[in-house]
């Protein structure tokens, strides 16, 4: 650890109150690597969103409608009335600064407007200047300003430099959630046709086809069958999952990244191996073929529309309940919004009850949908899985709490419980970087695009830094997570900051450790892991 400079010399008066005025005079500079490409005209048209056109944030003229001021102020007024939290967050901040240094983008970039308090202030100052009397009278003195085109540009820049991770809200004494301010900012920008392609194109594909990449039903099916061949190579099992099968007990929905992206596919193989082990009566859907929901990063209405297909499909197929895969923001939607925006659940659905252990998942009484980690943790707790954790001995594992499952639904223990049973070497990262204080991967809320690489690497530094610590201290070489965006984004992040560490999903490790009856009797022997690499490289028998 660095010892310098001496603290007593440095604790000169530091004022944590954000600057009252001068940030308003700092115009935003659009530097490459710090903003995402705008949505394509066709995509905006397809979605029926306002103002489809060719434009670029790098242009002087953003081609927004001439009555843009009215549109935004009207939109703001509507939302202030509709969402009490938004109104509250605009009114109650006391500028204590507790949140100021809690955002990973601020920590990595040093840009003051990435301090949550200032990010919210970009909106609050307009609220004050346009909607409150003191703001109208005292202007800047009251921290108020008028809405200009410059402000719109600034909103675009900074509301797409917030990953909606909610870390700041954990530290705010009033519970102000800057993430929700960002959500409002993005909704208002949509009214003018200001948005990013990385979010809207997947949204379009979800709406028209069913998943982010726009894979057609036959491609979804073929991809998954291909994974089954790989599973056969490793385990000898011939798995034939069913698709769109009516009358199955369970509908399983995973983020689509799990059946085409690396390393997500190994997690998907993990789910399939587990279900085969249990002989579970489940089906996959080529229509509800996406657990992810970029509608969450677009607008409440869009989130609702995209999520509806899961209940539609559960109803059409007549299943009893739904299991969802390892996805981050998907679970924020299920946990916080599904019940109110898409509920009540179709009447054929029942309170989820594990067919193996008989456990009734009361907390999902209303949504009828449970997380696969809850399901698996329950199996392990009841001793229903024969596990050989030594099969994962080449890994020293740590766990990244993805923002949404951790802060969005308080999901801390289940994945850790599973990991501790399926591998022998598990070490948590330092306390102030995990669980509810976890650091974002830097690529959340639809910002995991390559043109945003610099910001992603900066924003991900606090996370990577903690991983590096356990890598050096305990030899950690595998970062497990339960989020498809993380599996992709953390891989890149690790490659930049700590290249010795790989990334995997929890169920990849579960499947590696799972001992099938034939393997137990010695009739079959498992020598490869799901990545088709030797389980124990040093073991001669593996070669």
């Amino acid at each position: 650890m660095a010892k310098l400079p001496k603290p007593e010399e440095l604790f000169d008066s530091i004022d944590w109150t954000p600057p009252e005025t001068d940030w308003m005079d700092t115009p935003v500079e659009f530097q490459p690597g710090r903003w995402c490409y705008p949505a394509k005209k066709k995509v905006v048209e397809d979605l029926g969103f306002p103002n489809p056109r060719e434009w670029s944030p790098a242009d002087e003229d953003w081609k927004i409608p001439s009555n843009w001021r009215e549109i935004v102020l009207e939109g703001m007024k509507e939302r202030l009335e509709k969402y009490r939290s938004f109104k509250l967050f605009m009114d109650i901040c006391v500028r204590c600064g507790a949140c100021a240094d809690k955002c990973h983008y601020f920590l990595g970039s040093g840009d003051p407007k990435n301090m949550p308090v200032l990010r919210a202030e970009l909106m609050r100052s307009i609220y004050k200047g346009e909607f409150t009397l003191p703001g109208k009278i005292f202007g800047r003195l009251a921290g108020a300003r008028k809405l200009t085109e410059e402000v719109i540009k600034e909103w675009f820049y900074y509301y797409y430099q917030c990953s909606e991770c909610r870390r700041c809200s954990v530290f705010c004494p009033y519970g102000i959630d800057t993430c929700e301010v960002t959500m409002m900012g993005r909704e208002l920008l949509h009214l003018l046709g200001i948005n990013i392609n990385w979010i809207l194109e997947p949204v379009r594909n979800c709406v028209y086809i069913g998943n982010h990449l726009g894979l057609q039903p036959h491609t979804v099916k073929e991809n998954i069958e291909y994974l089954c061949w790989d599973i056969e190579e490793v385990t000898g099992l011939k798995i034939q999952p069913s698709f769109n099968r009516k009358g199955a007990e369970i509908l399983f929905v995973a983020p689509s990244g799990d059946y085409f992206a690396d390393p997500g596919i190994y997690t998907f193989m993990g789910y399939l191996v587990l279900f085969e082990y249990l002989g579970l009566d489940y089906t996959l859907s080529t229509y509800a073929s996406e657990g992810g929901n970029f509608g969450l990063f677009t607008s409440h209405e869009m989130m609702q529309k995209i999520n509806a297909k899961i209940y539609h499909e559960a109803e059409r197929l007549g299943v009893k309940f739904i299991i969802g895969g390892e996805c981050g923001h998907m679970w924020r939607v299920k946990h916080q919004y599904m019940d109110t925006v898409n509920g009540p659940a179709p009447s054929n659905l029942e309170v989820p009850k594990s067919p193996i252990t008989g456990t009734v998942f009361e907390h999902a009484k209303s949504t009828k949908m449970i997380h696969i980690c809850e399901f698996t943790a329950d199996l392990i707790a009841h001793g229903k899985l024969e596990l050989d954790p030594s099969r994962n001995d080449k890994y020293v594992v740590t766990f990244h709490d993805s923002c949404n499952p951790s802060r969005g639904m308080g999901f801390f223990e289940e994945p850790r419980f599973i990991l501790k049973h399926v591998c022998n070497n598990f070490y948590d990262m330092p306390e102030n970087t995990i669980r509810e204080k976890t650091f974002c991967c830097g690529s959340g809320s639809g910002l995991n695009t390559d043109e945003f690489m610099d910001m992603r690497m900066r924003g991900g530094l606090p996370r990577a830094n903690a991983v590096e610590y356990v890598h050096k201290k305990h030899g950690v070489n595998m970062l497990a997570c339960i989020c498809a965006i993380d599996r992709a984004a953390l891989s890149t992040l690790m490659q930049y900051w700590v290249p010795e560490v790989g990334v995997c999903g929890v169920h990849e490790l579960v499947a590696n450790a799972l001992v099938f009856p034939d393997e137990k009797t010695g009739k079959k022997k498992r020598t490869l892991d799901l990545r088709q690499q030797p389980l124990k490289p040093e073991d001669e028998e593996n070669v």
Partner: protein
């Protein structure tokens, strides 16, 4: 007293000056934070910079081990390579050490120390050159990662189409 002894004696002051010069390249709110928070997990940028410059100065005063010098330079530049800096400003923190040293030892720099002083400046230049390499390697890595990420993103589609040279296939037993 040799220059090395003098610098060793004033090590802390030099580091202080040097750190200050680096913080000046950040917005003032950020500089205040980097300075204030001493937690290596909550303030990774500040702590990496401190680790990097302290390590470098100790190498300059000590063994001048190439491997360790590169490591400490990397600690700082890997961060600055993704921040809002031009290449010159990002790497310029190394040359800022010259000024920091001059400021601290100016009054004690007698003529008999000059030749040692010139050697010292050469050493700092040498580190700056390593710095350019490291900065470039970081930037190149980012571009490389952009491509890799795209391949990973649609990995299975590429694999099914036989478009991937996947070295992991090598671990498969012969068909």
């Amino acid at each position: 007293m040799s220059l090395r002894e003098l610098l060793t004696e004033k090590r802390d002051d030099i580091l202080q000056e040097w750190y200050k010069a680096i913080l000046d390249t950040y917005p003032k709110e950020a500089a205040a934070f980097l300075r204030r928070n001493r937690d290596r997990f909550e303030n990774p940028v500040g702590q990496r910079i401190l680790e990097g410059i302290e390590g470098l100065l100790d190498e300059i005063l000590g063994d001048f081990d190439e491997k360790r010098i590169k490591y400490f330079t990397d600690r700082v530049l890997r961060v600055r390579a993704v921040q809002d800096f031009n290449p010159s400003v990002a790497t310029g923190y190394i040359l800022a050490l010259k000024k920091a040293i001059r400021e601290v030892i100016e009054d004690d720099l007698s003529p008999e120390l000059w030749s040692e002083f010139l050697d010292l400046l050469d050493k700092i230049d040498e580190i700056a050159l390593y710095g350019f390499d490291i900065y470039m390697a970081c930037r190149e890595r980012l571009y490389h990662l952009k491509v890799e990420e795209w391949k990973k993103r649609v990995f299975l589609l590429l694999k099914r189409a036989n478009f991937i040279f996947d070295e992991r296939e090598g671990s498969l037993p012969q068909q």
